[in-house]
């Protein structure tokens, strides 16, 4: 650690089998490899700090925070020295590589200070808000076509050969009478109008079918209902008129 802890922390005098002196000095010694952390009882350090704190009339929070920081660092150093390093962690320094780690940490602190200086100076840059594009007209351009491609398209079209002309087959137009009897012959208890028209009704069949339906409604042969606008029409036979319709 390069930053000197607050005075109060150094006031905390420790008495350990291997060390006697202020807490921050202990940390420094360990970090400089001048004291083996495995020889230090962290329980004893904590106990003595707590005793020191208890003796104070009022405890500044900064002191507690500072202790926590130092203690956690001690804890990390100790656990690292006690635990075997996982074999695949290439970056993990050996316990005896503490110097290198400290150098790295110091370098990090220097870099962090540089960032902090920039942050403090308020040297921020700002980007532009995103452009609002909605509602702007989109222009379309035709990709240029080389002239030979025009000719090639024509050749391909001619080479394809024209299909044999299809003989003209006029679609038979269903009459109102035919449609009326088709509707009635298919009508069950309650049927969907579209199902009465045929397998794949044409536009014409729809048209004639609808007129047929209207005429059957008017004659009170059937009744119908449509739940929603443009929805399916349901049709059913009115019993009283059943006979009349068969005529």
């Amino acid at each position: 650690m390069t930053v000197a802890p607050p005075l109060r922390l150094s006031d905390c005098q420790l008495r350990l089998p291997t060390f006697e002196g202020p807490l921050d000095v202990l940390l420094r010694l360990i970090e400089r490899n001048q004291l083996d952390i495995t020889d230090v009882s962290l329980v004893a350090v904590t106990d003595q700090f707590l005793a020191y704190v208890a003796a104070l009339s009022n405890t500044p929070p900064e002191l507690l925070a500072e202790f926590t920081a130092v203690a956690s660092r001690l804890l990390a150093l100790k656990s690292r020295s006690l635990l075997p390093a996982p074999p695949q962690e290439i970056e993990e320094p050996e316990p005896d590589d503490l110097t290198r780690q400290l150098q790295a940490y110091q370098a990090v602190k220097a870099a962090a200070e540089h960032l902090q200086a920039r942050e403090r100076s308020g040297l921020r840059a700002f980007a532009r808000p995103p452009a609002r594009l909605e509602g702007l007209p989109v222009t379309e351009h035709l990709a240029p076509v080389p002239l030979p491609l025009l000719l090639r398209a024509l050749r391909r079209c001619l080479g394809r050969g024209r299909p044999a002309p299809r003989p003209y087959r006029p679609t038979p137009i269903i009459t109102l009478a035919q449609m009326t009897s088709r509707l009635l012959s298919r009508l069950r208890d309650r049927s969907r109008f579209s199902a009465l028209l045929g397998d794949s009704p044409s536009r014409g069949e729809y048209l004639v079918g609808f007129i047929a339906l209207l005429s059957l409604l008017r004659q009170r042969v059937v009744d119908a209902t449509q739940a929603t606008l443009f929805g399916e029409i349901e049709v059913w036979r009115l019993d009283s008129a059943a006979e009349a319709a068969d005529d």
Binding site: R132, V138, E140, L147, P148, L151, A153, L154, G161, P163
Partner: protein, 192 residues
């Protein structure tokens, strides 16, 4: 507009040196998403509106070199926009310009019209063997063909021909510059 100092801001002013004003206004107008009143700009750089206007003139002169310009909205509001010189690039960059390709069907139809004009839709359909109404609409919309008359036949169908846009599109001086048509293109009835 007055040269008297503007009323004190609630916030302490972040005064900008006179020679820095134009650049500071550039930064402010860069991050602004809407036109900004001159008075507001003046407040934020700690000068009078008149001084801000002078700095804006200076800024406008400098912006030209970076493809931007100062745009006034009315007398008092100002914004920075990209220079119209690069409108095409900007439009395309923002995806506001699309390039569409002519389909194979459209090219076929266009070629038939080019070599056989004036020609009706029915005649095109016969040559292509498929319905061409959709393709014709596309070509009409793109201005590559246009109605040029009506056939004196039952129904008086519209006849189509190519446009000057068609010539421009293919880089032709005139229709005579079209390469000779491939054999097999059926001529109009009256030409055999």
């Amino acid at each position: 507009m007055t040269d008297s100092p503007i009323p004190a801001l609630q916030l302490p002013l972040e005064q900008v040196a006179e020679e820095e004003r134009a650049a500071a206004l550039g930064a402010l107008l860069f991050v602004a998403s809407d036109p900004v009143p001159v008075a507001v700009l003046a407040q934020h750089i700690g000068c009078t509106p008149a001084e801000a206007r002078a700095a804006l003139e200076e800024l406008a002169a400098r912006l030209d070199a970076v493809g931007l310009m100062v745009q006034w909205c009315g007398e008092d509001q100002v914004q920075v926009v990209s220079s119209p010189r690069y409108a095409r690039q900007v439009q395309r960059f923002l995806g506001l310009e699309r390039t569409v390709r002519l389909s194979q069907a459209a090219l076929e139809t266009l070629a038939i019209v080019a070599y056989r004009q004036p020609i009706t839709r029915g005649e095109i359909d016969t040559i292509r063997g498929v319905d061409s109404s959709g393709v014709l609409q596309t070509l009409l919309a793109r201005g590559l063909i246009e109605p040029v008359g009506r056939l004196t036949a039952p129904g008086n169908p519209i006849q189509y021909g190519t446009t000057t846009e068609f010539l421009r599109f293919f880089g032709l001086g005139s229709l005579d510059e079209l390469p000779p048509p491939p054999g097999g293109l059926p001529g109009p009835e009256d030409e055999g």
